[in-house]
């Protein structure tokens, strides 16, 4: 009868509401679809990667992946190493240097005219401050300064570093981002110190997390944890002016989504590609895949402690296992051939690593060794691994494959995965019998690997109770030897000892893949800091 007013006004209210929702959306469509190819977009580099690992931007404290890249662009080091030859030390902040005959004293001549972001000029004092602070903060990267006994300022442009024992790897250490040189005046103004008690007294880190006190080609202008980081070109940089005025890192966890963004042109670089994603790129897609060899390693640790496993304590059993593994199957099948395999825990690319020495599968020899050791019918053993990807490789298929390979010998492997924090704790306590783990480079010299894996008490050697006096001697000799040829021979000897003792079995040194917009030039994969951002252009 009479039309209810509330009914009609209800309907018109509904209409108004939907219009209010839909119209802005339509408007935004119009605006958003406008291609933003302005000058600023050309000069901005957008990188998508998983930046979850980030903890700090303070170069003297950072020890994660993303921060290495950010800090390498904001803080220059005394020397550097670049593609294609990572064994060649090149000058950077240090124009030249001399090493005393006994290998104990390094004298660096710092280039003049370098200014920090604050405008302060860089002097030898800043070098001394930064390296001392690195040592006395006693945080993750402090071990870089372990060999240093004293740092002295000779004059404004000369620094003399004295080591407590000869250490041939020291120059390589000085190329790595943790040894970046900071603006001492600015850092001190924000609570920093290089005093002996820096580990409790230094308060500058929270400030350094969000801005740079450096002199590199870029400086950090904004950082939002887990979201975004922005680097902007440093106008007063002493070196060649980099092409990109702004570099934006956006946190995107999923590699496939990164690929989609790169193909759409929304991102220029997608850094977390793995062989599976590369294989699925449709032909004709607007994306270029850059390939490089990382110096990361996926390996298996075998505990030599008889109280953990009496079978594994016998080196013949460990050798048998190393002959039983189908290495090629793992690399070709599981890793889509995207990896190489050095013979021991020195990655291909450092001095002394020689693929021809790598052990190949020999099932008959494996059986024979096992029988000699007294286990012709095998024995039970547990294999642990953590449930997160091993440097991009899913651990489950790898563990299952190894289980099958060892099973052919009669060794009954029980797989026992655990959450990463729990697994790392147990591994560091030396509890697992067999353990799948990863290692990434500290700096590009064989010594850190030799020290970690083959010296008794080294961080990795400790976990499998590896104790061989000959290995210890070779590690020390390699560190002292100044002649590269003799040094390479020492590390080859060490590889032979490792192949005999088998405390660790090297499985894969993976290749790195990055998806890049075809317009980007100069992208070369760096094993420590992923890419030298200042070398990129469009």
């Amino acid at each position: 009868m009479r039309q209810s007013r509330s009914c009609r006004s209800g309907r018109s209210r509904l209409f108004a509401l939907s219009a209010a929702l839909v119209l802005p959306i339509l408007a935004a469509t119009g605006l958003w679809n406008t291609p933003v190819q302005s000058q600023s977009r050309q000069e901005t580099l957008i990188i998508v990667r998983n930046i979850d690992d980030f903890v700090t931007n303070d170069p003297s404290r950072q020890y994660e992946y993303t921060a290495q890249m950010l800090d390498q662009s904001s803080y220059d080091t005394l020397v550097t190493v670049e593609a294609p030859d990572f064994t060649k030390i090149q000058p950077k902040l240090a124009e030249s240097w001399e090493i005393s005959k006994d290998g104990l004293t390094y004298t660096f001549h710092i280039r003049g005219g370098v200014k920090f972001n604050s405008g302060n000029p860089m002097t030898a004092n800043d070098v001394r401050f930064s390296l001392r602070r690195l040592k006395y903060l006693e945080d993750n990267p402090s071990f870089f300064m372990d060999p240093v006994k004293d740092i002295a300022v000779v004059n404004d442009t000369t620094v003399k570093i004295t080591l407590s024992a000869p250490d041939t790897s020291f120059l390589a250490a000085l190329a790595a981002p943790p040894t970046g040189i900071l603006d001492s005046k600015t850092v001190i103004a924000h609570g920093g110190t290089d005093a002996d008690n820096a580990k409790t007294a230094d308060k500058a880190t929270s400030w350094l997390n969000e801005q740079s006190a450096g002199q590199g080609p870029y400086r950090l202008t904004s950082f939002r944890k887990n979201e975004q980081a922005v680097l902007e070109r440093n106008p007063g940089y002493w070196g060649p002016k980099p092409y990109f005025g702004k570099i934006v890192f956006i946190h995107v966890k999923d590699g496939t989504t990164q690929r989609q963004m790169a193909e759409r042109g929304e991102a220029d670089v997608a850094q977390d590609f793995d062989p599976d994603i590369v294989a699925k790129i449709p032909p004709g897609a607007k994306i270029k895949v850059v390939e490089g060899l990382s110096m990361n390693q996926v390996y298996m640790a075998l505990n030599t402690n008889p109280q953990v496993s009496k079978e594994l304590a016998d080196k013949r059993v460990r050798q048998a296992i190393s002959y039983a593994i189908d290495y090629d199957g793992i690399i070709k099948g599981l890793a889509r051939d995207a990896g190489v395999r050095p013979p021991a825990m020195f990655p291909i690319g450092v001095l002394g690593a020689d693929t021809s020495m790598a052990r190949q599968r020999d099932a008959a020899k494996a059986k024979q060794l096992l029988a000699e050791a007294g286990y012709p019918n095998g024995f039970p053993v547990k294999m642990n691994y953590w449930t997160a990807p091993l440097l991009g490789l899913p651990p489950e298929p790898l563990a299952a494959k190894l289980q099958a390979d060892l099973g052919a010998l009669g060794i009954k492997v029980t797989l026992e995965p655990k959450e990463r924090s729990v697994m790392i704790t147990e591994y560091r306590q030396g509890k697992p019998q067999l353990m799948l783990a990863t290692w990434s480079p500290d700096y590009l010299d064989p010594h850190p690997w030799a020290d970690a894996f083959y010296r008794k008490g080294g961080p990795a050697a400790k976990r499998v109770s590896y104790d061989n006096a000959k290995a210890v001697d070779l590690v020390a000799a390699g560190d002292r030897e100044l002649d590269p040829k003799r040094r390479a021979a020492i590390y080859k000897d060490l590889t032979q000892v490792a192949l005999d003792d088998v405390p660790f079995i090297m499985l894969i040194q993976p290749k790195s893949f990055v998806g890049v917009n075809p317009s980007i030039k100069g992208y070369a994969i760096h094993p420590i800091w992923f890419v030298t951002l200042s070398k990129l252009s469009r």
Binding site: C7, N140, T200, T205, K225, M261, S421, K462
Partner: protein
């Protein structure tokens, strides 16, 4: 009268918060892992003094009961400790990530209510007919589909193939973020007058809100439907129709209003759960929020962050429940506090 009620609720809230922190504290410490396992690098384990410094800095070298009491004391002063992962005050982390979660929750909640309630009403009014079954199917698919799958498929179809939606993230990458006033990107960009940023932020929230909203919509629609079905049997509706009221007013004014009470309870809980973070949506759409922060804290055994997130979530649930209880009074005069 109301003040006494408020006082009671505050006391209960305090007890609940204490209980939540105690349980979180105990469970976190029960995990058989070293909290510094993911803080110290492999090579840092060479030097025992590095470990000792961290233990001392975060009070991990003191006995458990003492750690707990110290934590409670700090919380009373507004200090939630320093996160092991971000090395910043936990309060600052929460302040950074909470607004993003609130924006997404409000948007998803709006989607679920705007689509879910009418869908539920429609289904109830056409009970057991095709429309009802269709509505129930839509709700079920939304609630049952794993949200990371829905999100990735939505991104693939609407972003990659159709190019209707923008990619992951809160804002177009080459647009500058507006200065932080409230922490809410959409609001801050309006305040700063940055129209492209405002529109970009609005546009970026559409897809995650739709995906997350669809997930919750299942719940809203089904609750509305079943509540309305119950109410539709009531006698007072027959009376209203007998008095000459048209059907729209009968349903809209009388039936729906009474059906909304159970709907309010359920959707209130759903809203609270949204506010505690939607980790899968946040991960797929690179949306900064509490969900991802909480999961990272748990897997990295970041004690202060775990406790901080627990505290925050407890506060959220307590507050939402309180608001819901007050809203009961608005809907039904018989329930007045």
């Amino acid at each position: 009268m109301f003040l006494r009620y408020l006082g009671q609720r505050l006391v209960f809230a305090g007890v609940a918060l204490f209980g939540a922190i105690l349980v979180a504290f105990l469970v976190a410490h029960l995990v058989p892992a070293d909290p510094l396992a993911l803080v110290l690098s492999d090579t840092a384990t060479k030097d025992p003094s590095i470990r000792a410094t961290y233990m001392k800095r975060w009070g991990l070298d003191r006995p458990l009961p003492e750690q707990f009491l110290v934590y409670l004391g700090n919380v009373a002063h507004g200090d939630l400790g320093e996160s092991f992962t971000t090395r910043r005050p936990v309060l600052r982390d929460l302040a950074q990530f909470l607004p993003g979660t609130i924006e997404l929750s409000l948007a998803a909640f709006a989607v679920s209510v705007v689509f879910g309630v009418p869908l539920g009403v429609w289904a109830a009014l056409r009970h057991n007919r095709l429309a009802d079954h269709a509505a129930r199917l839509i709700s079920l698919v939304g609630a049952a589909s794993p949200i990371f799958w829905t999100g990735l498929i939505a991104l693939y179809i609407f972003y990659y193939v159709l190019r209707w939606a923008p990619g992951p993230g809160q804002l177009d990458p080459h647009l500058a973020r507006p200065p932080v006033v409230t922490g809410f990107l959409i609001v801050d960009s309006l305040i700063a007058g940055q129209v492209p940023a405002f529109l970009s932020a609005l546009w970026h929230i559409v897809l995650p809100a739709l995906v997350l909203g669809w997930f919750i919509m299942g719940l809203t629609a089904r609750t509305t439907r079943s509540a309305l079905l119950e109410v539709l049997k009531a006698d007072y509706l027959r009376t209203a129709r007998a008095k000459g009221l048209d059907e729209g007013r009968v349903i809209g004014l009388h039936a729906l209003r009474n059906a909304l009470i159970p709907v309010l309870t359920i959707t209130g809980l759903a809203f609270a759960s949204l506010l505690s973070g939607a980790v899968l949506t946040e991960t797929v759409f690179a949306w900064p929020g509490i969900g991802r922060y909480a999961v990272t804290a748990a897997t990295r055994l970041d004690y202060p962050a775990i406790l901080g997130v627990t505290l925050l979530t407890a506060v959220i649930y307590i507050s939402v429940n309180f608001v819901v209880d007050l809203l009961y009074g608005v809907l039904d005069p018989r329930i007045r506090v």
